[in-house]
């Protein structure tokens, strides 16, 4: 019976994903996906930032340590930042924090994308793909831990 329950639980696993998106592109893309009635899984909770560069890697750490199964970040394509170069700086920080997470085997739970305001379809597809990926990984090893 124990085995059956675990299997059932696995089937029903709905990941919690925290997303950080830039106000000028991906947040608008998410809007566009909504207004164009594109369907995508409702697993992600999006937090709007005013720029990619506002993404302090501590946000990512905090989300993961508080038990998020996945974290994603999405901003304007490099070269298209509303504030000229915010996403270039963000890219370096993301590469650094992912290197640290990789050491702990958590890097596959933090992804980042470039999605512009016009790419509503891409946003919906990305969310589908990401949710599938995280479902495959299963619950975060940090979920429910007393930290």
């Amino acid at each position: 019976m124990g085995e059956e329950t675990t299997k059932k639980e696995e089937e029903e696993f709905e990941p919690k994903i925290v997303g950080f998106t830039c106000n000028w592109c991906t947040y608008a893309a998410a809007d566009l996906a909504g207004t164009s009635r594109k369907k995508y899984p409702p697993n992600s909770r999006i937090i709007r930032l005013m720029c990619s560069a506002r993404l302090d890697p501590m946000f990512v750490l905090k989300a993961l340590l508080n038990g998020a199964d996945g974290v994603f970040f999405s901003g304007c394509h490099p070269g298209e930042c509303h504030y000229i170069k915010g996403n270039y700086y963000a890219r370096r920080r993301i590469a650094a924090i992912r290197t640290i997470l990789k050491q702990l085997g958590l890097d596959n739970r933090f992804k980042s994308y470039w999605i512009s305001a016009s790419e509503g379809e891409k946003f919906a597809n990305t969310m589908k793909g990401l949710t599938e990926e995280i479902k495959e990984l299963g619950p975060s090893p940090l979920r429910g831990k007393i930290l």
């Binding site: 890697p57 501590m58 750490l61 905090k62 340590l65 490099p78 070269g79 170069k85 270039y88 700086y89 890219r91 370096r92 920080r93 993301i94 590469a95 650094a96 924090i97 992912r98 290197t99 640290i100 990789k102 050491q103 702990l104 085997g105 958590l106 992804k111 980042s112 994308y113 090893p141 940090l142 831990k145 007393i146 930290l147």
Partner: protein
Amino acid sequence: MKGVELKSGDLEGLFKGLLDKKVVDCLILPHRVGNNVAHMMVTDKDKIEPPVPAIFAPSFSVNVANIVKGWLIKEKIGIVAKPCEIRAAIELIKLKQMDKESVLLISVDCPGAFTNQDYADHAEEIGDWVDSAKIEELKGKGIAIREACEICDKRLADVGDIGIVRQDGDNVVVVGITDMGVEALSAIEDISLEDKDIDRSGEIEKIVSEAKKKKDALPEISSVEALEEFLRDCIVCKNCRDMCPVCYCKECFFDQPLGNPVGGDLLNIAELRGAIAVPANQLMYHLTRVYHVSTTCVGCGACEDACPKDIPLTRLYPVITKKVQEIFEYVPGKDVEEPLPFTVYEEEELEDKLR
């Protein structure tokens, strides 16, 4: 490169000359305290006491860069220290915690350091001048150098303004690395600079390969569970932060209510989750610190020395931050003109590191 060959005993004269000629207003250098070595700040040249070879002593007390951090004063400070301390000072200059013009950095060849306890217990046996053969011999007797020093591959005096390079016997070569260093040396009367060509590539190769071997042999922290186990005894006292030369925020996030919740705040979080570890934020604290020093950690091991619970933090900080430094091809403290990785960017880079 301009330099001068001296006997180690002559260094006393060199330091006195720096103070005498007002090249520096003060000197911070190691001196003997009982069986061990600590630092002192000297303004009066007569207080420089022989034997000056204490500057070579294989003992690490505090990373001197941590002491002068944030001083931003007009007076010129001369610092005689190990290469890791000088590299930390260079990082602090880049972080605008020190003024480049107000420090004269003098690095000294380092054979690696013993723990304070081991050094004090066996000071006579160890002596001031150890080489790799002597270290091996001592190791056989159970006196081993610090883990941070074992995995350090940059222990030669090739950083800062002036380098004090050890030769055979008790000979040393003092070289001016930067223009400021050459100028400082030429101001001293009884020193005449000559062209010195020192090729240490063979020595460097040997150190790098040995350090790599030692590092690869260290147990790796390769999962969250491993990190939890590693930090099992951590009491979040934050000594590792306080003793870290490159952790420089005036107000640390983990001293503020959000990073260090107490009382009602803590109770609220506990109610939200059902249970919370206290003191709170242990993993968050260490991972944040790993990220914050990721490009500037010089691997001096001051964090490990500071840990009251004897957690071998060398296996966490220098080891993981090195991987971040590798993706930016950045060596902290190598060059004062090289910008910090997070302050610059290239238009096309790192795309394979993002997802």
